[in-house]
Amino acid sequence: MRFAHNGRTTKPMTSEFMTSLAQKIHVSLLILAVLVSAGCGGPTRPPQDLLDSATRSLSDARAAGAQTYAPLELRFATERLDQAQAAISREDYAAAGRLARESEANGELATAKAKLGTERAASEALDQQNADLRRELGSDAGQETNR
């Protein structure tokens, strides 16, 4: 235990120290509470922009033919959007935001894969048609058309 030795008093510093310690603890707890609330506190309203983006992304994926060429990604996007809506229903807006972002990412991946599948199918069809034409034309196929 510490004592004050300023020469004017011989009163122990225990009460003074305790008062200072309690104040410091209170301040610390206050700071901690502020930090925790700032760091862990979630949004207080539904992430409507994220939900709208996810919905658009899902619609684009369907329009691009994801049902055929990227069914797994389309299913993930759909499921996560549904889960985001469910999270909003229970007012868990942080989870709703995360799930909406994941849904949007899956939707855009499905769109890209659908476009790739569509282009690949069209290319393969053209490739086959060209092979048939070359076979029909025989040696004429190699001739120039700029006549």
């Binding site: 282009e119 290319s123 196929a141 058309t145």
Partner: protein, 223 residues
């Protein structure tokens, strides 16, 4: 390093108990995640590989930038917890999207090339079909011409045959007329011969009669 500095600064004014509470709280939030580091390294490598790809590297710049941004956000996100896991998930999808978009763009270019080749081959095919059609028309025209010439030749032959037939008939008629004339001549000649013969017989009879008459007159005289 910022955390350590802050801890040292706060530790001068706070008692050890409070400091301990803060350290535990901060440590709880700063969870180390080796798996996330591995994931981030893998995503970085994948994006570097896509950027360096000679065929795909420049085909999907927007998606590539979005993927890099998502990876960076993941790096900046506190490891662990729902946000970290979710952000890693999103970054994975963004990287896959960048690859798929680049491959789709490459396939689109390939399809354009194939379409150009297809147009060229279709043009050749159309030209060949037109040439074949023209050759067929020419063949049919020649066939018709041959048929027309054959028909004309046959008609001429028929006409000649008809003319020949008429001539033969005329000749036969003439022959018949000649034969009839010859017959009439022969009949006349036969009649003339008969008449001559009859005349000769009559002459002979007359001569005989004259001789007999003359002989009778002589007998009478003698008597």
């Amino acid at each position: 390093m910022n955390v350590a500095t802050a801890v040292l600064r706060v530790s001068k004014s706070l008692p050890s108990a409070t400091l301990l509470v803060l350290i535990v709280a901060v440590a709880a939030c700063q969870t180390v995640s080796p798996q996330r580091d591995l994931d981030l390294q893998r995503l970085d490598r994948s994006l570097d590989q896509l950027s360096a790809d000679p065929k795909l590297g420049n085909l999907a710049p927007a998606e590539l930038n979005m993927a890099r941004a998502a990876v960076q956000v993941t790096k900046d996100t506190k490891p662990g917890g729902d946000d970290g896991v979710s952000q890693t998930y999103v970054a994975e999808r963004r990287v896959d999207t960048a690859w798929a978009a680049a491959q789709a763009a490459e396939m689109e270019n390939r399809r354009a090339d194939l379409k150009q080749e297809n147009d060229r081959l279709l043009l050749l095919s159309a030209r060949r079909d037109a040439a074949q059609a023209r050759a067929e028309v020419e063949r049919q025209r020649l066939q018709l011409q041959i048929q027309a010439e054959d028909a004309a030749r046959l008609a001429q032959e028929a006409q000649d045959a008809r003319a020949e037939g008429e001539k033969s008939a005329q000749e036969a008629e003439a022959a018949r007329a000649v034969a009839a004339q010859q017959k009439r001549i022969a009949d006349a000649q036969a009649k003339a011969a008969a008449l001559s013969k009859k005349e000769a017989a009559l002459s002979a009879a007359a001569a005989k009669a004259r001789r007999e008459k003359t002989a009778d007159k002589g007998d009478d005289k003698h008597r």
